[in-house]
């Protein structure tokens, strides 16, 4: 017996989204329209979502509509800016058994089916955010209108380890065809969880009509009346039923290439999409129920929810940040250096802080070259429509360059992005300190040098702080914030406040070598190169972590980072942290090679040229891929244990958040430590799991 919403136990913490019914008699309908509004009683900053209470409320609302005489159309819409953001994520951890997950899946199906099977035409007026179960509610209605400026639409389930299991996997491909459906269900969630916008829905065939937000409800109702009375006939494009096998095969290949099938949800979603070609809706629904129940009971989903909550809560309120009220105002920024990284940093500060940013370099030519780079980037932003003409003009006016460091005199913050060498940085700060006021912040963008050592020669070491941005600066969401023993609260608060204005997620790190992300990526590469040095062929070592579905294989990561940088990091970690980070001879050879090491034709894939392979010296104790994988994971586990012992971060949570945002580690691993815990590696290596 399949569950309905009325069978579900209540969830105490649920903020219930009520379904309010109002009947009215629009002109020309010749009967009543029922408008159901989904509203949790809060403004748009707390989007409506469905738990058992919300499902029950809509169930009863539909009861009320069915009991009313003369209803000629039913429309579902939401509170301002929000249609429905899907199932309540907070509810998920309370699903302790597979049966509970199954019942929730069935209840959603039973509810939404009433809209699909209604004898009276049903309409979704998608006025705003519609995600997951909200998007699926709309899909069950016979017709959909959408507000052209709605934001946050789509089926992101796969990104959190689930599948669109309230009808999404079955209705969408049969509505818009398998190719577009595969993009929405699998492609977008795996592509940094890309969302659809309101204006996308009609071209995709998901919505039947679009209206502007100003009078969206009125115009939607007017349109719905015309559809219900036959004045408008909705025409939908024929879908290509023959496309199924090819598209599914292509999508499977993509999921294999991108995440090596490590995402159980992506694989399961493709199974369901494939099923949708021939299955009846009922068969499809049953398959969705089973898939949801399986995934909800599985480890990837729990890790995903952990990761989701980390990004949403810890990411917004960094641990260890002083009160934001202590932050100083930053009204002008100096960037030392006019190289590529400096230019990126200058542009980011100008875009986000909207204050003057001045770059300097050793001579006028270099300074102007750096400025030219920034201006070219602004031109690109404007050409792509990413900034308005006016904002572009403002940015051009804000960023200047000079060879004379006296321009820093009235800066409130000076950040250095010069060569990664302690002596160079110390010299820079000594010079800058003689120019700026005693209160101005000094910031280093070092990726791993000792910030304390940089502060040692300063008259006012309390205003030095590290802010380690990741490349490409404009894209990567993480910044590691490094306080030394002497950094004062005002300086640290300012660093966090600036990070927030830069729209970055800040994670605090103690001033230990390579901080968080680079230390772990460094350890990972150390184990990989160690395995190669010992005799494991590069091709074998490179696929050793495929089962995790990391965004890049080790050698692709090396190619991206650059061999010289990697070698530099390797030596530096070897000096600071000892033989856990051996100075790999093969890495040195590749870094010092005077020929291309990576195959330019396979750019980004980390494929070595024949010449490079020829110089790699393999030892005589090769490992299998599985063995290398274990070696890396055990190495990472050991390193995380040491980092926690050293107090680099207060808990494993910060490590996971940093790895998700700084290295793109997937949600289904929970970053990293939940995976190490559930595989038993952390207990094996350190004696206990990382989770507290």
């Amino acid at each position: 017996m399949s569950a309905t919403p009325l069978d579900l136990p209540d969830f105490e913490e649920e903020v219930v989204t009520e379904s309010y019914v109002r009947f009215l008699e629009p002109r020309g309908l010749g009967g009543k329209a029922a408008i159901i509004t989904l509203d949790n009683g809060f403004d748009h900053t707390k989007p409506s979502s469905f738990g058992p209470g919300g499902l029950k409320s809509l169930w009863r609302a539909i009861d009320a509509v069915e009991a009313e005489d003369g209803v000629k159309l039913i429309a579902v819409t939401g509170k301002p800016f929000i249609f429905l953001a899907g199932a309540d994520i907070k509810l998920m951890p309370s699903l302790e058994t597979r049966e509970q997950g199954l019942a929730l899946a069935q209840a959603g199906h039973a509810l939404y089916k009433r809209l699909k099977d209604s004898a009276v035409p049903t309409f979704a007026f998608v006025n705003g955010t519609a995600l997951g179960g909200g998007f699926e509610l709309a899909l069950h209605c016979h017709y959909r209108t959408v507000s052209t400026t709605a934001l946050g639409l789509g089926l992101p389930e796969v990104s959190i380890g689930l599948i669109p299991g309230w009808g999404g996997s079955q209705i969408l491909p049969n509505l818009i065809g398998i190719e577009k459906a595969a993009q929405v269900v699998v492609g977008n969630p795996l592509n940094q969880n890309k969302m659809l916008k309101g204006a996308d829905l009609v071209p995709l065939g998901i919505a039947d009509a679009e209206f502007e937000a100003a009078d969206f409800i009125e115009e939607s109702l007017d349109w719905a009346v015309k559809v219900a009375t036959g004045q408008i006939t909705v025409e939908r494009a024929e879908i290509d039923r023959d496309a199924w096998p090819l598209v599914i095969a292509g999508a499977r290949k993509l999921v294999d290439e991108r995440v090596h099938n490590a995402s159980a949800a992506a694989v399961r979603a493709l199974d369901l999409l494939e099923l949708a070609q021939h299955a009846t809706f009922e068969e499809g629904s049953l398959a969705e129920d089973e898939a949801l129940a399986d995934l909800e009971a599985g480890p990837q989903f729990q890790s995903s929810i952990y990761a989701f909550n980390l990004v949403r809560s810890l990411g917004k309120r960094p641990e260890g940040a002083p009160s934001p009220g202590l932050a100083k105002e930053v009204r002008k920024v100096g960037v030392v250096g006019a190289g590529l990284m400096a230019g990126q940093i200058a542009l980011m500060f100008a875009r986000r802080l909207e204050v003057p940013v001045v770059m300097t370099d050793l001579d006028e030519e270099r300074a102007q070259k750096g400025l030219a780079y920034v201006r070219a980037e602004i031109d690109k932003l404007e050409a792509k429509g990413r900034t308005s003409k006016l904002k572009a003009a403002k940015l051009r006016a804000l960023v200047t360059a000079s060879s004379d460091k006296s321009v820093y005199a009235d800066c409130d913050l000076v950040i250095e992005a010069v060569f990664e060498e302690l002596g160079v940085k110390q010299a820079v700060f000594a010079e800058v300190e003689s120019i700026v006021s005693d209160e101005a912040l000094l910031v280093t963008n070092t990726s791993g040098l000792s910030v304390t050592a940089m502060a040692s020669g300063l008259k006012h070491p309390e205003r030095l702080v590290g802010m380690h941005f990741f490349n490409p600066v404009a894209v990567m969401p993480l910044v590691e914030v490094i306080a030394t023993e002497s950094t004062d609260k005002e300086t640290l608060a300012t660093a966090y406040a600036v990070a927030k204005k830069l729209k970055k997620t800040a994670v605090g790190s103690a001033d230990r070598p390579a901080f968080i992300v680079n230390r772990l990526l460094g350890r990972m590469l150390a184990e990989v190169t160690g395995a190669v040095d010992a005799g494991t062929p590069v091709e074998v070592a490179d696929v050793s972590l495929d089962a995790l579905g990391l965004p890049m294989r080790p050698f692709a990561l090396l190619e991206l980072v650059g061999l010289q940088v990697a070698w530099h990091l390797c030596q530096h970690l070897n000096e600071d942290l000892g033989p856990r980070f051996p100075a790999s001879e093969n890495l040195r050879r590749m870094a010092e090679a005077d020929f291309p090491v990576f195959d330019a034709a396979a750019k980004g894939k980390g494929k070595l040229t024949e010449e490079a392979k020829a110089v790699i010296a393999l030892g005589d104790s090769p490992s299998t891929a599985d063995e290398v994988g274990q070696r890396i994971l055990r190495g990472l586990t050991e390193e995380i244990g040491l980092m926690l012992d050293e107090g680099v971060v207060p808990s494993a949570k910060q490590i996971d958040l940093a790895m998700i945002l700084g290295a793109g580690f997937p949600f289904w691993l929970g970053g990293l430590t939940p995976y190490l815990d559930r595989e038993g590696i952390s207990t094996d290596v350190t004696g206990k799991p990382f989770a507290e």
Binding site: Y20, V21, R22, L24, E25, P26, R27, A33, I35, I36, T37, D39, G41, T77, K79, P80, E212, A214, D215, I217, E218, L221, D222
Partner: protein, 395 residues
């Protein structure tokens, strides 16, 4: 320089449903009401390229909050008009929208604009009459104006005092008549009422008609209502326009421009006038403004075939009718009922009168001239005289 005066025409007008203050549109922003009216107006007139609009003149009595921030400009932007279209706000209390029309009409006649949008809005839910007012203490100190003049209901009682023949019974009978006329014409009125979404704690609804009318109103029903403005007075809620939320908008154009764009010409403007009267009896304002407008147009009251008079209070309409020797039940006056039935969202009502007169003109080719007129708080009247382009000669 071409210094000839051009003909100004009323192309089309539309309004939102009118809601009872504190009810239907309690949680609806005033700017959203006028934005909806403007968007509906543009949708009804696809022949008007929005970039051709030379001005958006919008009236509101209380110009703060959602009726502030130069509403004419902000509402134009929010309604989706091109940024090149300018706009401003205007205030003459109840005659705000009427003044918006006469202002843009003057500019059109003198060749400064070709086409403009004029209208008004009042959310009396959000902005009760007199909100934020700070009357100058000289009003009391120098006895310039009786403080009672700031209370419109009291000025209506004053009219009963001043003109004893304007009895409560006549006022009640007038109110019964206007409710009945509204009820009979409700379908015709709906042609110019757009729908308006309204949200409350119980979800969205879409209003399709006015909330305030009380069909079936009888003399008996009105007889014993309270007289809130004076103990044992004569003015009741039944003979007053209620506090109302709503918005109106219309297109005013140069006649040749309208023809060029293929826009319909519903009325031709003949002339207008505003006049001042004693603030304590502001309800008689339309009498001198109408006399003035007629005189300037070279017309007499006998030339006027239709009247759309704003019914701030029944007694105030009766004063006008008595002055011009028109019967209380003359079918030329407010044929589809008036503000006592449908409501009076202060600054927006002027365009509502014009929109209805335009409909009458279309139905009544035997009528050549019509008048829209209204009284204004603090002692003013406003009158616009219109000519029927459908006029086919008198019967």
């Amino acid at each position: 320089m071409n210094d000839t005066i051009r003909d100004v025409v009323f192309v089309d007008g539309v309004r939102t449903p009118f809601g009872k203050a504190g009810k239907l549109f309690e949680d609806t922003r005033a700017d959203d009401l006028i934005i909806r009216a403007i968007r509906s107006l543009l949708r009804r007139n696809p022949g008007l390229p929005p970039e051709r609009v030379d001005e958006v003149a919008l009236a509101a009595t209380t110009q703060i909050g959602d009726q502030g921030l130069t509403l004419g400009r902000t509402a134009a932007l929010l309604a989706g008009l091109p940024r090149s279209v300018p706009g401003y706000s205007i205030d003459r209390m109840c005659a705000g929208a009427m003044t918006a029309v006469t202002s843009v009409a003057s500019a059109i006649a003198s060749r400064q604009y070709d086409i403009a949008i004029a209208g008004g809005v009042e959310s009396m839910s959000n902005h009760p009459m007199g909100e934020g007012a700070d009357p100058n203490p000289r009003i009391v100190a120098e006895r310039l104006v009786d403080p009672d003049a700031l209370q419109m209901g009291v000025t209506a009682e004053n009219l009963h005092d001043l003109y004893p023949q304007l009895t409560k019974e006549r006022a009640d009978a007038y109110a019964v008549q206007t409710q009945a006329r509204y009820a009979a014409a409700v379908d015709k009125l709906s042609a110019d009422i757009t729908t308006m979404a309204a949200r409350s704690d119980e979800g969205w609804t879409v209003a399709t008609g006015d909330e305030l009318p009380r069909p079936g109103t009888t003399m008996e029903g009105l007889a014993n209502l309270r007289t809130p403005f004076r103990p044992h007075g004569r003015v009741t809620a039944g003979t007053s326009s209620p506090n109302t939320d709503g918005a109106t908008a219309c297109i005013i154009a140069d006649a040749e421009t309208a023809a060029e764009l293929g826009l319909p010409i519903a009325m031709k403007m003949v002339g207008f006038a505003f006049a001042g009267v004693d603030p304590e009896t502001m309800g008689v304002g339309p009498i001198p403004s109408t006399e003035k407008a007629l005189a300037r147009a070279g017309l007499t009251i006998d030339d006027i075939g239709l009247f759309e008079l704003n019914e701030a209070f029944a007694v105030q309409v009766l004063a006008f009718l008595d002055h011009f020797k028109i019967a209380d039940d003359d079918p030329r006056v407010n044929p589809w009922g008036g503000a006592i039935a449908m409501g009076h969202p202060l600054a927006s009502s002027g365009v509502r009168l014009m929109t209805q007169l335009a409909r009458h003109f279309a139905e009544r080719p035997e009528v050549r001239y019509g008048v829209t007129a209204m009284c204004v708080g603090l002692g003013q009247g406003g009158t616009v005289i219109w000519e029927n382009p459908n006029f086919k000669g008198a019967n």
